[in-house]
Symmetry: C2
Subunit: 299 residues, 2 copies
């Protein structure tokens, strides 16, 4: 079976793995994300030990995913300054003369869930991570969503919860979704981190109110066939109850989606791959890059 | 050149046309939308006069666009009761043994604008109509967007304008986008129809506030390469100024879209095909249906 490489490039760690397109992982390591000078040699050294035929990268962003762009494959305007404008894809390609797939971490996770996880067998799903930040990847009609740039779904505007006086913490939009509902926003509003707030009903009621609003927008705009919620905040499973309740209220039996109100537990779910959605998706990005290069060579 | 048929099935009229995939229309008629029993014989008779090789239908909705569904091609839960559950596609197919394409009116318009209109040459655009209702069609990575069902972008939630006391008129969501910003909402709020309010700055300021919010959500979620605004309300061109202003405020120079603030006039535009986006798109749906059937026959 073809051996593939996968990189899940995150803001705190790079997970590197080798494995197969069926999701099987043979070996993996975790490397702290410090500076490119420190982190990347370890990343590249890992793959030098293995005979991989392609590598897939799911990266934190914003990144340039436009294949026609001069800066395709770069991390762009990240607040992690050592990584600003860093040509991640090019660095990997310089060392390895094999096909390399490149996409966002959340698009990779959406791909993993669509092919091997909770949305297996479906041609569309949305993967949302709610943690330090909020981001989402979309797999639509069998393709990862991309347009002018990759989506930035975490920054959509939401209506404030009537009891919420917290001003929000997004440096750009103040009280957008990420500004109000990310892990750090929960901590800033309630004075302690999410994991110490498990038994506070009002915390998860409010969190569900915001996430449900976001899901309503995503459903009306993208109409995904499955919604998968991952990330640290979602380890607080009690928030699902609040999400289901508010989303039912917001949709209000809206005629196009009558079945959603009764089947929400099957529609809005945890990742089928647990914490491995991103790295599994990166393996699949490697497989796709390999397939594409074969097609190209046959032309 | 292949002669194609096109139907733009609207709530007040059916426009039928014959023409070519380059957008050229040879003949067109308009038939009032009353009941299927009255309207459809005239529609079918029009195409019986012409030797078309395929027909494309862009229909008002909600409609069933899932090809695997038993009720594929039906108008579903419309408040226009004579058309509820009406098998529009099947009726056309019963009379003509040729390929028939079927999609929403707004997806047809998005296709028309993408291939022959304001988004010509791009592989993605969003077409939004703001009139009696609000709806949108999306052309993404060369395909018309469809998931669990077709999108229903007009019903997204928006934040209320601080000066707006109007309660909204959506029977499902009250003050969703359509409930606050459709033509009938403008008329109900201000006491007279949009065309009598041309010189009232506060009207178009508020309208732009709502539309800009919607565009922000669409941009962050779908990232279309061009946004096209059509429909009766958009004939009030002064609303574009307000939309550009508020969208700039809302995005607030957000790093992923820095260029948008300066290039908004080129990014958010009127339909390149004017009022012909829908019928032109229906011609293109016919062409696609014909191409697909040829591919199928070659297998």
């Amino acid at each position: 079976m073809t051996l593939l490489g996968a990189i899940e490039a995150g803001g705190t760690k790079f997970i590197c793995a080798v494995g197969h397109a069926n999701g099987e992982i043979k070996e993996r390591i975790s490397i702290p994300t410090t500076t490119p000078e420190e982190t990347m040699p370890d990343v590249l050294a890992f793959f030098q030990k293995h005979q991989v035929e392609a590598i897939g990268i799911g990266s934190f962003g914003p990144i340039d995913v436009d294949k026609k762009s001069k800066t395709y494959g770069n991390i762009t305007t990240t607040p992690k300054l050592p990584w600003k404008d860093y040509p991640l894809l090019e660095e990997v390609r310089k060392t390895f003369s094999i096909p390399v797939g490149f996409n966002t971490d959340v698009n990779a996770a959406a791909l993993g869930e669509a092919i091997l996880g909770a949305a297996k067998g479906l041609d569309s799903c949305l993967y949302i991570t709610i943690g330090t930040g909020i981001g989402a990847g979309a797999y639509i009609q069998g393709e990862l969503l991309q347009g002018l740039t990759h989506p930035e779904m975490g920054h959509i505007l939401v209506r404030r919860h009537p009891q919420d006086t917290y001003k929000g913490r997004c440096p750009y939009h103040g009280d957008c979704l990420e500004g109000l509902a990310s892990g750090p926003a929960i901590e800033a509003r309630w004075g302690t981190s999410a994991k110490n707030l498990s038994d506070k009903e009002e915390v998860w009621d409010m969190e569900g109110y915001y996430i449900a609003q976001a899901l309503m927008q995503y459903i009306l705009i993208l109409s995904p066939k499955k919604i998968i919620l991952g990330g640290g905040v979602m380890n607080q499973s009690q928030v699902f109850t609040s999400i289901h309740k508010y989303l039912g209220d917001f949709l209000n039996g809206y005629l196009v989606f009558p079945e959603l109100s009764s089947e929400m537990e099957d529609y809005i779910v945890k990742p089928g791959l647990g914490d491995h959605a991103g790295i599994t998706g990166a393996l699949l990005l490697a497989e796709r890059a390999l397939d594409e290069s074969k097609k190209y060579m046959m032309k």
